[in-house]
Amino acid sequence: MKEEGQNEKKYLFDNPRNVNRLLGCFFSSLGVLLIIDLFVHKHPHFPWEGWLEFYATYGFVACVALVLAAKYILRPIMKRREDYYD
């Protein structure tokens, strides 16, 4: 008799190769986006919109700042036990 785990159906991301493929696609599209930015003719409202890779940098930095602030500033101040209000 086979083990139950082996019997269970394999799903898309149970195979690490598929996960790696997905990550590969993701990282390649990042590269493509960075390259496309060099060729797009911009007509910015603000001067910094014309800077090279402005949106990519802002998106990355903003999210890192968001997570660090939420984890290291907001959570220590605001976190309480689940039954805090009971």
Partner: protein, 590 residues
């Protein structure tokens, strides 16, 4: 022409009749209400209809213009979707509450006078609360009461403003108000509470996650959007709204990152999206108002879609915390795809609905040279992708394998999600039809190369940040906890108030009881019982002693007098003598 009725009435009367429809006809009946409502709505020409005289005033139940119509369309659409999603629910209370709630929302947007507006506004609260209580848990009951109290306070504030305003202007008409004096500030504040402005917002993040699975779909669509409508009608171009809106887009995303309950994450992102609308209304240009209103239309759809997908997960697994979920894409693939469409739409990915409306507000801010506002909005755009766009689908459907293999959502839920997902993609890919419905003529092209590339870069590098933070273990793990928010002030403050009132007033009551009931009253009782006997003895004992009564005889006399006085059975002669003496004393004193 077909004769039409006020749009609100179809839903309210239709809703109240739900309990009388039995069996398999009920589903058809429920779905028919928004369909009939919609046919009714498109048959109404623009203008003012159903003017009713009430006392000395004129009530208007149909102010139909492009602004109110757009809200009318989306409210009908989402009612259909929400009812379809809730078809399996056997609890009539939820159907009635949902329909009356939708009817109230239609009443609000088509009200031409501020009195009927207020009545429908309050009905929003009263009907929606049953969608929370219908969950029938202690937490839902408590959250419902808090929701009710907060909205009652906001409603009273609005009412005070309306009374003052009508008193000043002498008119009930509901149109542009603008910030000008106490009355308008009170109205502004009343709208703001329903709009979930910062600090006034916790009613939303507190109550929505406690509502029923299907009820929250209605709730995510109506209350805040009615408030956005009211602001767009009465306060367009009010500068304060720009800042309020910008703060609304910014602060909730921090909370959303550390929140564990995924429906609460969505509640925070709801505030974030409403922030874009409020900001657009504050900017007040044609582009900004168009953007705000188009974003209402899109937000109702994608937020409902996200809540529906989380509802389906909750329905099948009974869980909603990020810590308990994961890996559900395996057995709920369609729900997973719908969730990802909603996530892409709220994140404003090109070809998804958020992209064609949010960017109008962003461009309006840039066009007005509002640098700081623009930066905040851009930060919020990246942030919303982070928490609603990635976190929700990732923690529910991917991430660690929770081991659960639930069945796919029921057919009616799948259909409702499918319709919403289709519309999100359709509007995102072909924004023309939506643009043609906006209040002002649209001269805006969302799909330009720099815009598409810029937005895609923003989102992809936001995703890169998420991936790297997750892989490096820095991303904050989900934790079972509550995060304090400004509701702390009334949740803990309420208890403090109760404690203080208990101590002050109950101590006062106890002291009063000791002093008056146990003390003074008892003393008076004793005095009134024993007083006459003592006075009589004081007068008569010397007289008896002079008359020669001593020893045992005197004691006998005393006992018989006490008995006679205490039972009120004195001989008539003595009573008459005492009365005579009393009268003489009175006569002398006068």
């Amino acid at each position: 022409m077909i004769s039409t009725v006020p749009p609100a009435f179809i839903f309210i009367i239709g809703g109240l009749l739900v309990p009388f429809i039995k069996g398999r006809w009920k589903s058809a009946y429920l779905l028919l209400i928004p369909v009939i409502g919609f046919i009714n709505l498109i048959s109404i020409p623009e203008g003012t209809h159903w003017v009713v005289r009430f006392l000395d005033w004129e009530l208007v139940f149909g102010k139909i213009d492009r602004l109110s119509l757009l809200f009318g369309y989306i409210f009908h659409l989402i009612s259909f979707i929400a009812l379809l999603y809730a078809l399996h629910v056997k609890d009539d209370l939820q159907h009635v509450a949902g329909l009356v709630y939708a009817g109230s929302a239609l009443g609000v947007v088509f009200a031409g006078d501020i009195f009927s507006f207020f009545v429908f506004w309050e009905m929003l609260t009263v009907s929606s609360i049953f969608l929370i209580w219908a969950r029938r848990t202690r937490a839902a009951q408590a959250a419902g009461f808090r929701y009710l109290l907060v909205h009652a306070a906001g409603g009273l504030c609005l009412l005070a403003g309306i009374v003052l305003y009508v008193n000043q202007t002498g008119s009930l008409e509901f149109g542009y108000i603008g910030l000008n004096g106490l009355a308008t500030y009170l109205i502004f504040f009343g709208f703001g509470l329903n709009c979930a402005w910062p600090i006034l917002h916790p009613w939303l993040t507190d109550a929505y996650p406690e509502a029923t699975i299907t009820g929250v779909i209605f709730m995510s669509a109506f209350t805040t959007k009615c408030a956005v409508y009211a602001l767009a009608r009465a306060f367009p171009g009010t500068e304060a709204l720009i800042w309020i809106g910008a703060i609304m887009t910014g602060f909730p995303i921090f909370y959303a990152v550390i929140e564990n309950d995924l429906r609460r994450v969505l509640a925070y992102s709801l505030i974030n999206q409403v922030g874009f609308m409020v900001c657009g209304i504050g900017i007040g240009t044609a582009l900004a108002i168009n953007g705000a209103v188009a974003h209402v239309f899109n937000d109702v759809l994608f937020k409902a879609l996200l809540f529906m997908s989380m509802g389906a997960v909750m329905y099948r697994t009974g869980k909603i915390n990020g810590t308990a979920l994961g890996g559900l894409y395996r057995t709920m693939p369609f729900t997973c795809i719908c969730c990802m469409v909603g996530a892409a739409s709220i994140s404003a990915f090109p070809l998804f609905s958020g992209f064609v409306s949010k960017s109008m507000v962003m461009d309006a801010a840039a066009g007005g040279h509002m640098r700081i506002i623009w930066f905040i909005l851009l930060f919020a755009s990246a942030g919303v992708f982070h928490h609603a766009g990635i976190k929700i689908p990732f923690f529910a459907f991917f991430g660690h394998d929770s081991g659960m293999r639930p069945k796919e959502a029921p057919l009616n839920m799948l259909l409702a999600m499918g319709i919403a997902a289709f519309l999100c993609i359709f509007i995102g890919s072909f924004p023309g039809p939506l643009y043609s419905l906006l209040p002002y003529p649209v001269d805006y092209v969302p799909y330009t190369a720099p815009h598409v590339v810029g937005q895609t870069q923003l989102l992809f590098f936001s995703a890169l940040a998420f991936s790297l933070l997750l892989l490096s273990g820095i991303y904050p793990g989900e934790q079972r906890c509550v995060n304090l928010d400004s509701d702390w002030f009334y949740r803990k403050g309420g208890r403090l108030f109760y404690y203080v009132i208990d101590k002050v007033f109950n101590s006062l009551t106890r002291a009063s009881e000791r002093t008056f009931v146990g003390g003074v009253a008892g003393y008076l009782g004793r005095v009134s019982r024993d007083g006459p006997t003592r006075v009589a003895l004081l007068g008569l004992v010397p007289a008896w002693m002079i008359g020669g009564k001593t020893g045992g005889k005197l004691e006998l006399k005393k006992i018989s007098l006490r008995g006679a006085l205490q039972t009120g059975t004195l001989p008539v002669g003595i009573s008459a003598a005492v009365a005579t003496v009393f009268l003489i004393v009175v006569f002398l004193l006068m």
